[in-house]
């Protein structure tokens, strides 16, 4: 199940927090409101080529070792935060992507579908 990614915005000073915080780093407020972070630009890419094992994740889900290595990116979201996300093969640095929040992970897909 995934939905568009949201980030927390400080109700007092507009500081953007992702992952969420208790008190605002800038002003100390505890008032937050959600804001969509729908898209951004990929800044770095890597893949998990070795060394990870089939194991049970904290959520209870089983992590399987797949034939296609998991591809991970950092995204500078338009909303002003950076996000670590899982992407399909072919996503490269500089690509614009749409961001989705799943269970315990953010996924991203190319914004322009071929």
């Amino acid at each position: 199940m995934s939905a568009p990614l949201t980030v927390s915005v400080c109700g007092n000073c507009d500081y953007r927090a992702y992952p969420p915080r208790l008190l605002c780093p800038r002003c100390g407020s505890s008032e937050w409101r959600p804001q969509p972070a729908e898209a951004g630009i990929v800044t770095e890419v890597t893949e998990l080529l070795a060394g990870y094992q089939r194991r049970q994740l904290p959520s209870g889900e089983w992590l399987e070792v797949t034939e296609e290595p998991p591809r991970l990116v950092t995204v500078r979201a338009d909303a002003g935060v950076h996000v670590v996300a899982r992407v399909p093969a072919g996503v490269e640095v500089g690509d614009r992507v749409r961001l989705f929040a799943g269970t315990g992970r953010v996924t991203a897909v190319p914004e322009e579908r071929p």
Binding site: E44, T46, R55, P58, P70, G104
Partner: protein
Amino acid sequence: MSRAARIVGAAEATYVRHPGPEQSTESFIAAAVAAALADAGVGHGEVDGLAVSSFSLAPDHAVDLVWKLGMTTRWVMQDPHGGASGINMLLHAVRAIEAGDAETIVLCSADRMEMEDFLRLTDNYNSVARDYLAALPTNGPNALFAFLSQRFGAAHGLEREDFACLPIAQRAWAAKNPGAAYRSPMTLADYMEAPMVTPPLCRFDCVPVVSGGDAIVVTSEERAAVLGGPSVGVRAIESIFNHDHQDGDGIHSGFGLIREELWRAAGVRPEDVGAAYVYDDYPVMALVQLDELGLVPDRDVKRFLHQALLERAWPMNTSGGQLSAGQAGAAGGMHGLVESVQQLRGRGGERQVEGLELALVSGYGMILYTHGTSHNAAVLERHG
């Protein structure tokens, strides 16, 4: 009242890749503590303070360890902060001795750690790892440091051949360290042909997961004088936690923010230091520490890698560092400290840095979302 503190002993319980069934976190703690006390010439009954860092002490706490070690203490501390724990415990021990809260404090760090333990630990490292990273998956911190390596490489004009200088240079030091897990020489070809793990990181950019323990003994200047022999004083310690709220790029770390005060308080310059012990969970972070703490002339990291580290074997992580000696969980946060103390006390054996008077030791860790939060550094000085 202020009484200077002195480190008078240090020891490492031999790191092993595959611990035997009789070896446990506690057995590594006991071995390291006993060896450090023997190295110091300090009697077991003299110890009146204990600090411990371990990822696998639970359900025990520091005081349970005081009981298991057969001690009575006036001071106790438990520090969960990974790569920053060694120097953090040192800071608090030094202040306790200066204030007279305790006189002879043992610091110890240990973990029995195999790969499944390591992956489970990193998946559950904190709530952010558990809720935002583990399920991606990221396979521990490798992916995050792959991103940081790309960023640092782009900023400093470094290719894989340049990063390679650091693990290769450390492996050359490890050849002279009987306690290192990996000691055979590493060539550039070995590095460039090594299996890739998370590009641009290859196998030799990632620390071997080992089990083991480390311990040091800190006492008062008065007691150190009675014990005789060389001791190590702490000229300065500085720390910073969560400097950038994870908003920064991770390659402009907290070390840049503590550098000025560290050297001002130490009353020496970076050029005066004869050896550096930086936290080498990954080559990129070792370079960030060296650069931001002022040890890279002209901040020319590429030249430093090739000339200082590879060609001249400038003394950095002279045990081989964690990249060659191995990372025994939380003991990784004390490994460099133990090596620096042994070197400053003239116990470096075949790898002794001649005439070493001053050393820098730094710690880094507690990865949050994209990079570490915890940074500290100490300037250590030989006495006697």
